[in-house]
């Protein structure tokens, strides 16, 4: 790779030196760009001197100023509006109105390695503008997409600072890197939580295989392209956006009180044949642990940006600060972001620029176990039994299932994660020979995470104490880079429009992790928390690293004829180090797409129904190299668990206790997309419909292997399965503005996806999973031919066993009255694994959203609804029991208390017999509908604002997740999870609503 740099630098220098730029006599052209419909100023409109790189942008008031030859032509383009060309003809003032009437087709959309007019796109690409993202009170830009893009399913993680999980058109891959690819200004990321939503100019979601295909190697789960805000030509504009708000839990689950709990436990003991644990069950309310630990939490979010430039250079500097308290006390997340971008038009043909983002965040963590602990903690245990003395579950002999005082867990938890990240790119773009553009870009992503945990020496309860303090310090360093070179040829002649792209990229991903622990570190002040202050004996240190590389070549042809007939084709070849050493190093990913703009045909001229009618179809292949590094290399295991002791002395142990697959192939997906785009009523109503079918071939899975192999890995990686995602999407948008100044947009979208496993190479072996953290090796999901990935699998409950006679006849070993009765599906008179069946699908079949926006004079109102339907969840919190965990009030009120008392709810002896096996009782509908966002804004009158030397002053109030409608018995139906354990609700941060008031100021 060194060679690339050398070559590049030599030639770039050469290019610069050999430039000879002559400018014709120029005039300064000024003007204002406004919306043709309502006359409002259009800021950020790109004004380009045709045939050159000279370009400026309109300022916040729509004004622009450009130096250009009097004979030239200016091209005005803006996302969402039709581009317009205007000859200068020696004028110095050119006021331009842009019309959004045919916006659907003329819109410029960001696609892989370039932009296209929406007209020319033959795949399925959804674009969300930055202003729609900043309107959402989300702290993560991806979270703001929820409900806005058909076919995109987003499960938010409510932990402050955590990234949401995004799924595009169903689960595309199961193993390894199952996330989408984010490309921010040309640099690839797995996660963009470092990005301040206010810095986003637009997001393009590449949904179909043909548009993803240009990102071959990493496109299997979809691609999200993010363009950030860059400097605009004009006076410096200062923007301030700020919100202050409060967050509060919305749908708390009511647990039993002390008296009810004691009653429930005594009933369970009686069923187990044991004496009652509580002699007196009249214990009053006891402790409400959720009430004890949850709080109304503050959130502060402020952004300040400066933007401006000349026609030779532009800049954008933005600073952000987020301070979010978690609704669990002691939980807090702070994020500081700074982003700077500069563009320099060095010469008429040469533009260079850079873009750098620095992020620092600090998270005061709460242990993941707290969510489970709050659910299981017994209400009979007081928070404190005496001043300074924690209530102790052992005082009540509650056993292992409920042996935690959650307040003590939080009080003795000292866990902090600091993340630092600097990322961005530098680029140079050269136009030559009129039609060619060469662009080279180098992007880097450098991160460091510091994770620090300190457990003091303490005694809280008999189950929560330690005789020695422990400090653990972890450092994770990331050093990734990507280099990209592209050459674009673009030409329009007569009725032909042709763009040809050729490119090459190389990437390297490197990470280092080092973790050290020491005991007996004193802690009087923060500055004590260093490993070297601890005991020198018993220190541990572990380090590990990973390195992978990828090299890629790609090309694409876009051709359109008379703006009616469209053809796009691309091919990408990727080599990935993960597949080195076999015959599968390179993967090839082609795509092809065609379109027909019917409305541009002559025979459509006289019809008035359609303002736009376009048919498109495309096909493409994408790959997935997201498998472990060096997956087929057998390595030696040398871990502390293999240390042998002879005479009390440690002896390092090492051996080979794993199996690796002999070879792995590229996992590939091939997808077809057929779309129909229609505009009615002069473009007021736009409808877009898509059908897609994507098949993942030779998907990489970890499948169980025989225990008698004696390996430490109970699973083996291999190309094991084929599966398919198939569905339809529909988007309809109505936008209009009345003569009275009332403007509105109503946009609805719905996506339906059907996920099914088509084939499992290894035969009928099922892939059971989803049991992480659950007891007794319960694996609630199964992936098998004919069913969706990760379907819930277990017993079908047919009722509750009422009598001893029924128990004896139930076929369930050890059954007692009050236990679940399971369906004997194979009719052999006994209930065993052969009677398990599919109980639900954790992959949402429907995702939908309704986004509305109303403006009247100075007021604006946004109401966004969002929901999912046709999805099931596994309520693992309810059924995963070791002993005397608490019960929900709802369960307690409906429980079986004796023959005939209930035929749907079992006795409180949930941990007994076969009751905690995966069964249909624990599988519930995860459908929900929520008011995702409500926002009311008011722009102060411009007369007043101008007097204050401002351009704009808007005040607003918003509410996120304020109203939620669902039947699920947990805290939130928004559960997420890895593909084979999606929808397993075990330790989920409770859902909360956020209420903000805010201010937008522009100077």
């Amino acid at each position: 790779m060194k060679k690339i740099f050398t070559n590049l630098s030599v030639w770039v220098v050469f290019c610069l030196l050999s430039l000879n730029v002559a400018f014709a006599q120029n005039v300064t052209v000024q003007g204002r760009v406004t919306d043709a419909a309502d006359g409002t100023a259009l800021p950020g409109v790109s004004v380009v001197l045709k045939g050159t790189q000279t370009a400026v942008q309109s300022d916040a008031n729509g004004n622009y100023s450009i130096s250009a030859p009097g004979t030239g032509t200016l091209v005005f383009s803006f996302v969402g509006y039709a581009s317009k060309e205007a000859a200068i003809n020696a004028q110095t003032t050119l006021n331009i109105t842009l019309t959004s009437s045919s916006q659907e087709l003329e819109q410029v959309v960001v696609v892989g390695y370039g932009t296209q007019r929406k007209l020319d796109v033959t795949g399925s690409v959804a674009t969300v503008k930055g202003e729609d993202i900043t309107k959402q009170p989300s702290t993560n830009p991806i979270s703001a997409l929820q409900g806005r893009v058909a076919g995109v399913s987003i499960a938010n993680n409510a932990t402050p600072g955590a990234s949401p999980q995004i799924t595009i058109r169903g689960t595309g891959t199961i193993y390894g890197n199952t996330g989408v690819l984010y490309v921010v200004d040309g640099v690839w990321y797995d996660d963009i939580s470092f990005l301040n939503p206010a810095d986003v100019a637009s997001i393009s979601v590449l949904k179909d295989a043909s548009s993803q295909s240009i990102y071959g190697i990493r496109a299997a789960n979809g691609v999200v392209l993010v363009t950030t805000v860059r400097g605009k030509n004009g006076k410096p504009t200062i923007n301030y956006n700020g919100t202050v708000g409060a967050q509060h839990v919305t749908n708390p689950v009511e647990m039993t009180n002390a008296s009810e709990y004691a009653t429930a436990v005594n009933e369970a003991y009686a069923i187990q044949g044991a004496a009652p644990l509580f002699a007196n069950t009249n214990l009053g309310e006891g402790t409400d642990w959720y009430d004890q630990v949850l709080r109304t939490a503050m959130i502060n979010n402020h952004q300040l940006s400066v933007n401006g430039g000349t026609d030779k250079s532009s800049y954008n500097l933005s600073l952000g600060f987020l301070d979010q308290d978690g609704i669990i006390s002691t939980n807090n997340f702070k994020r500081y972001t700074a982003k700077l971008s500069n563009d320099f038009q060095l010469m008429e043909a040469l533009k260079v620029g850079y873009n750098v983002t620095g992020t620092a965040s600090r998270s005061a963590n709460v242990p993941n176990s707290i969510f489970r602990a709050l659910y299981t903690a017994s209400p009979v245990v007081p928070v404190f039994k005496a001043p300074g003395a924690y209530g102790d579950p052992s005082d009540f002999n509650l056993g292992n299932g409920s042996n935690v005082n959650p307040q003590a867990t939080l009080d003795f938890n000292n866990s902090r994660t600091d993340r630092y990240r600097v990322t961005g790119n530098v680029f140079a773009e050269l136009k030559f020979l009129k039609n060619f553009t060469f662009r080279t870009s180098f992007g880097g992503d450098f991160g460091q995470d510091d994770i620090r945990n300190y457990t003091p020496q303490y005694f809280a309860t008999r189950g929560q104490n330690t005789n020695i303090s422990t400090l653990s310090v972890g450092r994770v360093a990331t050093r990734n880079w990507i280099i990209e070179n592209t050459l674009t040829y673009n030409n329009t002649w007569e009725d032909h429009n042709l763009t040809v792209l050729a490119g090459q990229t190389a990437q390297r991903f490197r990470s280092y992790t080092m973790t050290g622990t020491a005991q007996n570190v004193p802690f009087n002040r923060e500055s004590d928390l260093y490993l070297s202050l601890g005991n020198s004996a018993g220190r541990t240190i572990e380090d590990s690293g990973s390195l992978s590389t990828a090299a890629s070549y790609f090309g694409r042809v876009n051709y359109s004829f008379k703006n009616k007939y469209l053809l796009n084709a691309s091919l990408r070849a990727d080599g990935a180090s993960q597949f080195y050493g076999g015959n599968n190093l390179w993967g090839y990913f082609p795509s092809i797409g065609g379109g027909w703009v019917v409305s541009n045909e002559d025979f459509m001229k006289d019809q008035t129904i359609f303002s736009n009618l376009k048919l498109r179809a495309s096909w493409g292949k994408v790959g997935n190299a997201g498998v472990p590094i060096n997956p087929t290399t057998l390595t030696v295991t040398q871990i502390p668990a293999l240390i042998a002791f002879y005479g009390g002395i440690q002896n390092t142990g090492a051996s080979i206790n794993t199996l690796v697959p002999p070879a792995l192939f590229w996992e590939r997906s091939a997808g077809l997309d057929v779309g129909l785009e229609m505009g009615f009523f002069e473009g007021k109503l736009n409808v877009e419909a898509d059908y897609y079918s994507r098949k993942t071939e030779q998907a990489i899975f970890n499948i169980p292997i025989l225990g008698s192999l004696g390996t430490s890995n109970s699973r083996l990686l291999g190309n094991q399965a084929d599966f398919r995602n198939r569905g339809v999407e529909l988007v309809a948008t109505w936008a209009d503005k009345t003569s009275t100044g009332f403007g509105y947009t109503i946009s609805g979208n719905v996506g339906y996806n059907d996920n099914v496993v088509l084939n499992v190479t290894s035969g009928s072996n099922p892939i059971d999973a989803g049991g992480d953290g659950l007891n007794n090796a319960v694996l609630p999901t199964r992936t098998v031919v004919g069913q969706p990935i990760g379907s819930f699998y277990g017993y079908q409950v047919t009722g509750i066993i009422q009598t001893a006679a029924e128990a004896a006849a139930s076929g369930i070993t050890g059954a007692r009255p009050g236990d679940f009765r399971y369906a004997d599906l194979n009719g052999d008179g006994r209930i065993d694994a052969k009677d398990k069946t599919f109980l639900g699908n954790p992959n949402p079949r429907f995702n939908y959203g309704l986004n509305t926006n109303f403006t009247y004079k100075n007021f604006d109102l946004t109401v966004d609804l969002q929901g999912v339907a046709g999805v099931e969840l596994f309520n693992a919190n309810l059924g995963n029991r070791f002993g005397n965990e608490n019960y929900t009030k709802e369960f307690f009120d409906n429980r079986w208390t004796g023959g005939g008392s209930s035929n749907t709810y079992p006795s409180t002896s949930l941990a007994g017999g076969q009751n905690n096996q995966t069964n249909s009782f624990y599988v519930e509908s995860g459908d929900y509908l929520r008011v995702r966002n409500l926002q009311l804004g008011y722009n102060l009158p411009s007369a007043l604002v101008t007097k204050w030397k401002m351009q704009r002053l808007r005040v607003f109030a918003n509410a996120q997740n304020a109203f939620n409608f669902f039947s699920y018995r947990g805290f939130t139906p928004e559960v997420g999870g890895a593909p084979t354990s999606t929808g397993v609700d075990f330790r989920v941060y409770p859902l909360y609503a956020t209420y903000n008031i805010g201010l937008n100021v522009t100077f």
Binding site: W11, F438, G538, F645, Y646, Q650, A654, S655, G707
Partner: protein, 493 residues
């Protein structure tokens, strides 16, 4: 700088195109050849004596794993007997009851865990047995290492054959996936292999080790296990022969029965084979033995989880005044010789004192992680010797060996545990069996001992044990499924 406009553009274009091509061509496949970071690749292993040493260490280390010493082992080898109950609170880890009440089905997770745990031992042994012969190293050490691996492999197969009957006999690392799936060998074939491994190990292994190697398998361990394996097959001549050999190796009974099980008396003169465990400050990954923790006193910070507790039947089974009753069971309200007071509020009638580590020794991590697991003691060698001698009609030797065990148990107490004097074969057999119950209580011997004595229906019947079914546990269902039903299920499951 006076080159004409158009030429400069063309040059530039050509230059940039050239850059791409060069960039492309320089990016050879070697850029994609990266090594695993921080991990030794397997092809670099098995080269030196140090590699051999590490691989043998791994064998011993794995013996203290969860599957070998904690829940999976206890539910299969201990709790189902009449000497132990589930323990803890009634609603905690109720799957123990499935074993304790003989209602377990083939899908229960512990069946798979115990199975896999034993095969992991076997894999570590097979790695050594297949690879060490090719290493250039001290030949004496090499053959000893092979002997040690054979001992642990035999021990693991013995635990498997007791638990499941015939199992797949995996004696080499599979070369490729055609060797992954093996059918069940017969019970006899498994026993034959165990005997072969132990005989070969006994011929090689030393009778003892220097202090820095104490804990490795010895000749006595191999012969002692061979005796036990023979006893399970009623090969009484062999039992007598092997136990006589062990008795000639210098072992003796440790004088104080209670102190025998304390940390400071590990690897005592009575120890024939112990699984070694230690507490290493700060290294919880090496402090991974949970043998003591899972059986420790519930509700006490340095105690444990309180499982596999002594049953009322065990408590009542001791002869009057037998000091072993108090040395075997921690009773609520008792103050231990080490000064710990067992609270009266604990949820169970007692706890296993043989796994007990005094509370004051607890620092952090798993309670009692330092407690060795006594696998084979000289007392059991004597009892096997007594049983074989009685079966072979050598009553005098039987009484001598038996009474030696009773004498130690008696210690300084008087008027208790009188010498057994009966010469009636059946009565003496019953006395030896009873002695085994008292001497080896809560050492994971009782369950399979009663089964091999052929009286499980009588002893465990009231708990639900059924003949022609419960002699063995079911083969794990997942293992049968993954074998494509090449593995067959045991009768009755």
């Amino acid at each position: 700088m006076k080159t004409t406009h158009s030429i400069s553009w063309q040059k530039l274009g050509a230059a940039c195109l050239f850059t791409i091509i060069l960039g492309a061509s320089s990016c050879k496949d070697s850029f994609l050849d990266v090594d695993p970071q921080g991990q030794q690749v397997a092809t670099e292993f098995w080269k030196t004596e140090a590699d051999a040493t590490k691989a043998v260490n791994a064998i011993y280390a794995n013996l203290r794993s969860w599957e070998n010493v904690a829940f999976p082992a206890l539910v299969i080898e201990s709790t189902p007997s009449d000497e132990a109950d589930k323990g803890s609170t009634p609603t905690d880890a109720t799957f123990f009851n499935l074993f304790d009440q003989f209602t377990v089905g083939s899908t229960e997770g512990s069946l798979q865990s115990f199975w896999t745990g034993q095969y992991r031992n076997i894999n570590f042994c097979n790695q050594v047995l297949d690879n060490i012969p090719g290493i250039t190293m001290n030949e004496g050490l090499k053959s000893r290492y092979l002997g040690e691996a054979k001992f642990v492999r035999a021990y693991s197969y013995f635990r498997l054959v007791r638990a499941y009957g015939g199992v797949p006999l995996r004696l080499h690392i599979p070369k490729d996936n055609s060797e992954y799936n093996l059918p069940r060998a017969t019970r006899q074939e498994v026993y034959a292999q165990i005997e072969k491994d132990l005989t070969e190990a006994a011929a090689i292994l030393p009778a003892s080790y220097p202090a820095t190697d104490v804990g490795r398998a010895t000749k006595g361990a191999a012969l002692g296990l061979l005796a036990k394996v023979s006893m399970y097959q009623q090969k009484w001549t062999e039992v007598q022969n092997y136990t006589n050999q062990v008795m000639g190796l210098g072992y003796n009974l440790f004088p104080d029965f209670e102190k025998l099980f304390r940390v400071e008396n590990e690897n005592s003169v009575e120890s024939v084979f112990e699984i070694q465990a230690e507490f290493v400050a700060g290294n919880n990954a090496a402090n991974n033995s949970q043998y003591s923790q899972v059986q420790g006193v519930a509700g006490v910070p340095a105690g444990g989880w309180g499982f596999n507790t002594p049953s009322a039947s065990l408590i009542n089974s001791f002869e009057p005044g037998d000091p072993r009753r108090d040395a075997t069971i921690l009773f609520p309200g008792e103050r231990t010789p080490q000064g710990d007071l067992i609270p009266t509020t604990v949820p169970n009638i007692g706890y296993n004192q043989k796994s007990y580590v005094p509370f004051s020794r607890f620092v952090s991590g798993n309670q009692g992680a330092e407690q060795n697991i006594r696998v084979l003691r000289f007392a059991e060698i004597l009892l096997m010797n007594a049983e074989a001698a009685n079966e072979l009609g050598n009553t005098t030797q039987a009484l001598t060996s038996l009474n030696r065990v009773r004498a130690r148990a008696r210690g300084t107490a008087t008027g208790v545990l009188p010498d057994v004097t009966t010469t009636d074969k059946a009565a003496l057999r019953a006395a030896i069996w009873r002695e085994r119950q008292s001497e080896l209580a809560l050492e994971s011997d009782r369950y399979f001992d009663v089964v091999r004595q052929g009286r499980a229906a009588e002893v465990f019947g009231p708990k639900g044990w059924k003949a022609n079914k419960n002699e063995v546990w079911p083969i794990p269902q997942q293992e049968i499924d993954l074998s494509g039903s090449l593995l067959t299920q045991n009768p009755g499951y």
